[in-house]
Amino acid sequence: MENSLTVGIVGLEPSGTYYADIFTDLGHRVMLADSDPDQRESFEDEFETKTFENPDELFRSDIDVVFVSTPNKYHGTVATEAMETGYDVLLEKPLAATMEDAERIVETAERTGNICMVAYFHRFREYCDILKSYIDRGELGEIVHIDAKFIRRRGVPGRGTWYTSKKLAGGGALIDVGCHVVDLVLYLLEWPNAEDIVADSRSDFGHRTDYRYLEMWGEDDEAKMYDVEDSVRTFLKFDTGTTTDIEVAWAANVQYEHSYRIQGTDGGAELRLDNNPISDKSTSSLNLYEVRSGGADHFADSEIISGSDQGYEECYEGTVKAFVDAVRTGDRPEKCNVREALATQELIDWIYRADKTGE
């Protein structure tokens, strides 16, 4: 295929393989750096390609761009080295495990001029863009409040893996899945600054021996580390006057939910996104709530029917296409660029600090 890229993937933890599939489906080639020899071997077989033990060797070989899916702790080192070597970079979300690393990545991206994009893939659902267009056209009036939830009933990603280690992941449910919510809320509200935060996190499921995996997100590892939150509730007030409630949970004793209820002065909306990539059918929906007066005063509730009912795979694909476009044009991607990702990281960091200090 003309203009196809060779993507150097660093780490398979664990989304590297999903993205490798998407890249190859779109006609690109992939190579891998991973320290696990078994992983390398199966990757070589599956993608008929070369693999390397560490990124230095990968960066010296014939690749065009880099995709980073290591544990969050290593995003900073890998992304900055890749960009210093001259590669454009797509990072698995979140941007980094710590603010320090996040800032290092952004500084490197801006200094070297390389593209750096973070895979907040939910942003590539049509429903999100449609909702944003209603907000932008003022059809909901001024946005007063957003109530956002990302709740899994039983979905801690592999207890005892790097996901449940503060040092390796930078946090728990908030940085793992809550980062999507923070990203989407900030996007819908045009990246306002938070003024006030109240936050509270809990860790209820880490060491429970009666924990049941009903939604599989990786198996418990032999390692037993678990020092992160599995749920967070936070109330935010932005400098625009808009308030937001966010509830995030890897596990909770309620139905799973990934939703955004938007209240404006003139209308409202409810966006529901499926948060279960394992289910075959997308359950996403977007509804608008308006009040009109033609004939008689009435509520006008409408269901938005999008052309494509997007599941996870389409979202990944949208992310990859946007990245490849940015690489080809050399222009910073409009969605999920490193500046936006930094704003998301700053708010996540603040929520964690608010939780710790009660400030």
């Binding site: 290593y74 040092k167 390692a223 020092d227």
Partner: protein
């Protein structure tokens, strides 16, 4: 440059053995005199003296009026030997944090010839000096770190090491029966954490977890020890094991991403 005569006669090997044996004797018993050294080596005093003068001239032992102690020159070799241990570089900061967080002594051990050897140790606010010097070797059956390491070995490796262990009863709690040890190791493996409840030293409790990978096996272990009065049952069976498992897990993952760590000195 040319090769020296590589033919090894028994005498030459014996003298190397004796030299190192002298270093070990002095290491066990600082300020020992030539008479005692000669008798421990079972050689005439004049022979021992000859060895001692040689080692002294090389800077590896010090002679203070006829009593001998290990020389600082050995630290040079020891430091270089440890510097080659990748695990030390990858785990050092975590051991420091573990000590600071618990206020107690945290250690990183590796296995060497059937013993555990302290590669790095760090002390928290509750002690000023570590319990033992760096590089101390201990039997594997009586320490938490040793048991944590053993519990992750494959059966043939475990058999080989247990075969070589002399089950010394250091305290009345020391496990001295190989079968009892094996059964304890199975539970250590399941729980991911090992305990030493005054099994090596009276009055000292220790908790440890192995570091390594599922595929390759254990590289070593990290541990926290404290006197019983500062390690009550709640801490011994609850808080400290959780903390150690978090750190051991991090070190384990870190070993897979060694290239991203800039902790090399």
């Amino acid at each position: 440059m040319r090769f020296k005569d590589t033919a090894t006669s028994r005498d030459t090997i014996q003298s190397v053995e004796r030299s190192f044996r002298i270093l070990e004797i002095i290491g066990d018993d600082e300020n020992i005199g030539v008479t005692d050294i000669a008798s421990k080596l079972d050689v005439p005093k004049s022979t021992a003296h000859h060895y001692l003068r040689t080692l002294e001239s090389l800077g590896y032992i010090d002679n203070d009026d006829g009593t001998y102690s290990l020389g600082i020159g050995l630290l040079n070799l020891g430091g270089a030997a440890r510097s080659n241990q990748q695990l030390y570089h990858l785990a050092k900061n975590d051991v420091d944090e573990l000590a600071a967080q618990t206020g107690e002594q945290a250690r990183l051990i590796g296995e060497h010839r059937g013993y555990e050897i302290t590669l790095y140790q760090s002390t928290g606010e509750n002690l000023t000096e570590p319990y033992d010097p760096l590089g101390t070797i201990k039997q594997l059956h009586c320490t938490a770190a040793g048991k944590a390491f053993l519990a992750e070995l494959s059966k043939p490796e475990l058999d080989r090491i247990i075969e070589g262990i002399e089950f010394v009863e250091h305290t009345e709690n020391t496990v001295t029966d190989p079968d009892e040890l094996r059964s304890e190791l199975r539970s250590v493996h399941d729980q991911g954490v090992a305990y030493d409840d005054e099994e090596r030293y009276e009055g000292i409790r220790c908790v440890a977890a192995s570091v390594g990978s599922k595929d390759i096996g254990p590289y070593g272990a990290i541990s926290v020890s404290a006197p019983v009065e500062r390690m009550d049952n709640e801490r011994f069976r609850g808080a400290i094991p959780d903390l150690i498992q978090n750190y051991a897990g991090v070190v384990g993952v870190t070993t897979n991403y060694y290239w991203a760590e800039d902790s090399f000195e």
